[in-house]
Symmetry: C2
Subunit: 346 residues, 2 copies
């Protein structure tokens, strides 16, 4: 298939394989094999043909080549919002890994709208991408499930779990280890009521944080107070307000993501609450500038660069013929000055 | 061209135009016109054909279609680092605008290496993208200039200026207006020596900040001290150290980007310098969490979402046949508590 010299039919290609072959004094199939990195080419032939290609300024049409190969060397990446510090680091890790293996990454933002997830998966399928990296806005949205059933290329979910279609690869953050370490730290400091401004429960991170905190608290006979909602600053405000206004408010708060944290901080500021003297604080995602907030905030890091790199590597392994797999990426808890013993044992 | 029903030759397409046409009882050319949104189709024909397409689950091959059209409906975006808050907002603005017009965005990170800029432009050319958005790592790198000379599709530079090739479109941040407002604010407070930890002078933002500050200071008879270097935290440390250690140190510092700021803050912290009592501080880029640094830091915002949106819109206008253009996006200065009169008039 690769030997068929169809480049002359493509618009924009000034030279074709035939001219390169004539100038090099070799068969067109030899030029084609060199350009497609076929293993069955001698180093001498490779050097000779590439020198002629360079001399003539021949431009292979990757798109035409890839259609003949049945591969586009492209991967679609569906996320909520590239401007989120977590997603932009995941994207950097994924793009670097894909590029190092000759793949280009197409990026779309769902803006948190499940309908856009479904539309983007459909678009990428029609664009014949070789694989998909998905950080979906909703794990149970019917149109998304329907679109995924039609996908025949490898898919890697990024910290998402689907009831169906089953058997998709996934790279998952091990939230539980980080939350457990944070909860144990707070419990050792003497806290008996720990609040969590959690993400939405229709996404894995929200569910995992909630169940990990509840589990750690139950084992220690400590109360967990959870308020779930969207990954927004507004939810941070609402959750912190609700938790702090409860009859027996928590003496420590965990912000469930970098998007939720600013809302929590606004409430703490507006009420003039002293951290850590009156309230201990833990957040997720060790983003830029966090180190310059006073006092420094204890943090659970999800290692987003690694998440992105591992997701891409898993996709590449599947493209090379391996079976789908699930990889767990550890999270890391960093205690900082925002945690201290509660003001009085409740 | 669009009427040629070549879809049956593509791998992965289970159904072809002929089958859709037969089932619909219309000519293949009618099906093709409906699917390519040809204006010369009656609403009744459109509804009828789309119903059959839906019923049969026919999947048009966008890639094969676009090759026949000579367009891939894709745009390449070359930036240094998607994990930078400035670039990730630019990317969000650009991707949203492109997607709303039917284009997909391919993203590559140059990691600040000019050689990767050149390689990515070449890759995108070979992928036959319809246009390029470029935030280059170096405006004068020979291989990049060479690659750009070969590009035949529209290019929009994002806050970059090239000596050659000339005539490329550009969306430029009007740094001067923001720097001028910041300098005037500091001068009115009584500062007579203003330091700038600037970006590199081989990129427009570094040059613009330097000349705008020097210009504003010259007019007011005030001294400007500039230390230029890469957009890194390390340069922030080196520049702040160098400026504060000079014989007549500045009483106000401007950090030339969100990447430089953390280094400046580290020096201020390590030396126990009180902001704003001992040193006034201004930074660039109103990124997340900046509002929670104490005291709040005065900021020049470059409006990155708008930069990205306008860059994409400019590219789309060129794709529609308009001439290259240059657009200036205003910057906005926000005075905050990090600026106060200098400790003593020098």
């Amino acid at each position: 298939m690769d030997d068929v010299p169809t480049d002359e039919r493509e618009p924009g290609a000034r030279l074709n394989l035939r001219e390169v072959a004539e100038r090099a004094g070799v068969a067109m199939s030899s030029v084609s094999r060199v350009l497609s990195n076929h293993p069955d080419v001698s180093p001498r032939m490779r050097r000779h043909v590439l020198a002629i290609v360079e001399e003539l300024g021949y431009e292979p049409n990757l798109l035409a080549q890839s259609l003949r190969r049945g591969s586009t060397l492209s991967v679609g990446f569906v996320i909520r919002d590239i401007s989120s510090p977590l997603f932009s680091e995941i994207a950097l890790g994924a793009e670097t890994e894909l590029r190092n293996h000759g793949y280009s990454m197409m990026l779309t933002n769902s803006e948190g709208l499940p309908a856009l997830d479904a539309a983007h998966i459909r678009l990428f399928r029609q664009r014949r991408v070789d694989g998909l990296l998905l950080s979906l806005a909703d794990e149970a949205y019917e149109d998304t499930i329907e679109e995924l059933r039609r996908v025949s290329v490898p898919v890697v979910l990024i910290d998402r779990e689907l009831a169906e279609p089953s058997g998709l690869s996934a790279v998952l953050s091990d939230h539980a280890s980080g939350v457990r370490a944070a909860a144990q730290h707070l419990i050792q400091l003497g806290h008996r009521r720990i609040g969590l401004a959690a993400g939405p429960l229709n996404l894995r991170p929200g569910r995992e944080l909630k169940s990990a905190l509840e589990d750690a608290c139950r084992r220690a006979g400590v109360e967990a107070l959870v308020d779930d909602g969207p990954f927004t600053e507004e939810h941070g405000v609402a959750a912190a307000t609700h938790l702090l206004d409860s009859k027996t408010p928590p003496t420590a708060l965990i912000a469930g993501s970098n998007q939720i944290l600013p809302g929590v901080l606004h409430v703490i500021r507006a009420r003039g609450i002293a951290v850590p003297d009156e309230l201990s604080l833990v957040t997720f995602d060790d983003i830029r500038m966090l180190e310059f907030v006073e006092p420094p905030i204890a943090v659970v890091s999800r290692e987003p660069l690694q998440l992105g790199r591992e997701a891409a590597a898993l996709l590449l392994r599947q493209l090379a013929g391996e079976e789908p797999d699930t990889i767990l990426i550890p999270t890391d808890f960093q205690p900082r000055a925002s945690c201290a013993p509660p003001p009085h044992r409740a």
